[in-house]
Symmetry: C2
Subunit: 386 residues, 2 copies
C-alpha cells in the first residue's frame, strides 16, 4: 500500500470541467464566466450575476427584465412551507433553510411540467422569503407577507427585515455582497451538491446537501465565527492581547486567511470598500472599533503577514452585516442565499456533462483482517464503553 497517496480534502484532484468561475489564487483573481469580480461588483447587480452564471452570458435589457419578473413572481411561499418554518422556528436559521428547502422539494417536486429552470428561479426567490419569514416569526411572532414590489432581491430582503423599503446605500451594499458570494469553483458545499447530483438525484436534494455542508464552521459558518471572535472583546487593547494569545496557542482564527488565495482575496478588498461606505452612514460602534483593531493587527503583524492571514471576505461581510442590523446567526444564510446561484449553475453543468459519473472514490483499508464470527455466548461479559 506504500505507493498509494491519500488525497486529503481532494487537494489537487481534478474532479470535472467547469465554465462557471475561475480563481487564480497567486494573483488574487476571480472571474465569473470570464468577467472580473471587480467589474461585476462595481457595475452589475446580483440578478444580472445570477443570469450570467446560469446562462453563460450577460442578459440584454429585455432578458433581464423577464428574468427579474420571473424571480419576483416566485417570492410567495406555499402555506405548507410557512407551517414547517413555524414548527421548527426555534433553530439555527441554516437548519431552518435546510428544512424549508427539503420541504419545498416535497411540495413542488421536479416534474414534466416543472423543469430545472423553474425550480432554480423558485429556490433563488424563495430563500430570502423563507429566512425573513422565519426571522419575523421567531423574533416577534409576526406572520409577514413575503411578497413585495421591490425590484431586486437585496431590496426585497431588507424590506422584509425592517418592514419598510430600504435606502439605496444598504440595498447596494447587500447586493454587492451577494455578487461576491455567488460562486467560487469547487468549494465544499458546491462539491457536495455536485456529488448529490451525480446520482441524478433531484435539485432540491442537491441544494439541501449544499446548505448542510455550508453550515459547518470551517466553511460558511466562518463569518458567524469571525463575529463571535470580535464579540469576545470589550476594547481594542483586549482584542490585541486576545488575538496574540490565540496565536500563541496556535488556535485557528476564523475570518483571516483563505485556502485558495495565496495573495489577497479580491472579494475582501471589494467588500471592505463597500463596508466603509456602510459605516459612514451607520456610524462606528465599539464593536466596529474592535474589528478595525483586529484588521490592523492582521495587516501589520509579522505573524499574520508572513502566513498571509489577511482579513478575508467573511471578516468584512460579518462586520458590515452587523452594522446593517443583521444578527450574527443570520450571517451564514446571507452566504447561502447568493451561493445558491453557484450551486444551480454547477448542478446544471453536472447534469449536462456527458462524461460525468456517479462519485465513488476509494478508501485505504486500515481495519481488521478477515476474522471468524464469534457467537455472542463466547464474547465474555462486558459493559457498554462509549
Amino acid at each position: 500500500m506504500s505507493d498509494i497517496e491519500i488525497k486529503r480534502g481532494l487537494k489537487d484532484v481534478y474532479f470535472a470541467t467547469s465554465e462557471a468561475s475561475f480563481i487564480d489564487g497567486n494573483i488574487g483573481k476571480l472571474l465569473y464566466r470570464g468577467y472580473n469580480i471587480d467589474d461585476m461588483a462595481r457595475n452589475s447587480t446580483f440578478e444580472e450575476t445570477v443570469y450570467l452564471l446560469l446562462f453563460g452570458k450577460l442578459p440584454t435589457a429585455k432578458e433581464l427584465l423577464d428574468f427579474d419578473a420571473q424571480l419576483r413572481a416566485n417570492r410567495t411561499l406555499p402555506r405548507e412551507v410557512l407551517q414547517v418554518i413555524e414548527i421548527v422556528q426555534a433553530s439555527h436559521p441554516m437548519d431552518v433553510l435546510r428544512t424549508g428547502c427539503s420541504a419545498l422539494g416535497c411540495l413542488e417536486p421536479e416534474s414534466a411540467t416543472r423543469d430545472q429552470h423553474q425550480v432554480a428561479d423558485r429556490l433563488l426567490a424563495a430563500f430570502p422569503s423563507m429566512l425573513l419569514y422565519w426571522y419575523q416569526f421567531h423574533a416577534g411572532g409576526k406572520r409577514i407577507e413575503t411578497e413585495t414590489d421591490d425590484p431586486s432581491m437585496a431590496a426585497h430582503f431588507l424590506h422584509l427585515l425592517s418592514g419598510k423599503p430600504a435606502d439605496e446605500m444598504r440595498i447596494r451594499a447587500l447586493d454587492a455582497s451577494f455578487i461576491l458570494y455567488a460562486e467560487h469553483e469547487f468549494n465544499a458545499s458546491t462539491f457536495a451538491a455536485r456529488i448529490t447530483a451525480s446520482t441524478l438525484a433531484d435539485f432540491y436534494s442537491a441544494i439541501t446537501s449544499g446548505i448542510g455542508t455550508l453550515r459547518g464552521p470551517l466553511h460558511g459558518g466562518a463569518n458567524e465565527e469571525a463575529m463571535a471572535l470580535i464579540e469576545r472583546f470589550q476594547t481594542p487593547d483586549e482584542a490585541e492581547a486576545g488575538l496574540m494569545d490565540m496565536l500563541a496557542r496556535k488556535q485557528l482564527v476564523m475570518g483571516f486567511g483563505h485556502r485558495v488565495y495565496k495573495n489577497y482575496d479580491p472579494r475582501a478588498r471589494i467588500i471592505k470598500q463597500v463596508a466603509d461606505q456602510v459605516f459612514e452612514v451607520t456610524g462606528k460602534d465599539p464593536m466596529l472599533n474592535i474589528a478595525l483593531e483586529l484588521e490592523r493587527i492582521a495587516l501589520e503583524d509579522d505573524y499574520f503577514v508572513k502566513r498571509r492571514l489577511y482579513p478575508n471576505v467573511d471578516f468584512y461581510s460579518g462586520i458590515m452585516y452587523e452594522a446593517m442590523g443583521f444578527k450574527p446567526e443570520m450571517f451564514t444564510v446571507l452566504f447561502a442565499i447568493p451561493r445558491t446561484a453557484g450551486w444551480l449553475a454547477q448542478w446544471q453543468e453536472m447534469l449536462t456533462d456527458p462524461e460525468q459519473k456517479i462519485a465513488r472514490p476509494r478508501q485505504v483499508w486500515i481495519g481488521h483482517d478477515t476474522r471468524p464470527f464469534v457467537p455472542i455466548e463466547q464474547r465474555g461479559t462486558g459493559v457498554v464503553t462509549r
Copy 2:
C-alpha cells in the same frame, strides 16, 4: 493543461482511510470490520451489525442488551416532526425522510447534553417510525403510535406496517436485508455525508446529504427502478423480448451488474436465498415469475454473462420487499434506513481523523478567457432563450 487528468467519479482516487467495511470486487468479498458479510447475514442481527460498525467490535450480551434498549427508547418521534410529515405527506418517501431528518435536526440539535452517540441512536431508531408514520397517514389517514415492544428494528418496522406483530420468517428476512445494506465503503451517499462532515457541519446535515444523494436513480433508486422494469411486462415471454429490445437500444438496465464487483456481488447471493424462503411462504405471483425469467436470462444469456450483468442485490431485494407487502416507492427508504448505520460509522471516522481536511477538489477551466464588462445598453436587444 494536457497533463491534467480529470478523475471522473473520483475513480481510483484514494480519499481517506477507513475501518468500516472492505470490498474485494475481484473475488466478491465484503467485510464489515473484518467479519465476512455471509457470516454476518447468517449469524448476526441488524442491531448487532450496527453496534459492530459504530464501536468496532461485536457486543457482549450485556452490551447488546443495553444498546437494544437504547434504540427502543428512541422510537417515539416529537409531535413537531409528525406534523411536518403530515404537511409534506403527498411526496416521495425519500423526500419525506430527508425533510423529517432535517426537521429532527432543528428540534433536537447536537449540544453539550446531546452527543454524537445519542444523535446516532436517535436517528437509527427514528427513521423506521418516520417512514411508517408517513405510510399509514398517507395511505389511510391513520395517525399511528410509533412505539412498540418489538425487540428488533425489523420487527418494529413490520409491526407498524401491518398493524400487528409479524411472523419470524418476515422479521428474519427484513433483518437480513438490513444487514446487507448497512455499509459499503465510499459509495456516493456515504461520500456525500463525509464531504458535509468535512466542514464540521452537524450530524443531521451529513445524514440529510446522504439521504438526498441516495435518492438518485443511479444509486439507491435502483431497487425501485428494477421493480418498475419488472412491472412493465405481463408475461415471461414479454419480459424476454422487452429485455432484449432494451439491450439492442443499449439502454441501462437497472438491477443488473454493479460497479465495484467484477465477480458476483456476495450480497446478491445471500439475499436470493433469503428471498426464496420468503417466496415459499408468500407463494409466487405472476410478477415474481417475470422477475425469475429476467434472472434466468441474466444468468444464461451471453450478453449479460460476458458483461457480468448478473442480477444484483437491488434486483432481489426489490422482488422480496414486494412479496412482503412493501410498495415499490418504499424500497429506497428500506435501503436508506440500514445505510444510516454506515453513514454514522463513517461520519465518526471523518470527525476523529486528525488528518482530515475540508473537501475542495480542483476544476479544469473550460470557460471564457477574461473579458471586459459590457454595459447593458450595449448588449443589443434579445429575448430569453432557455
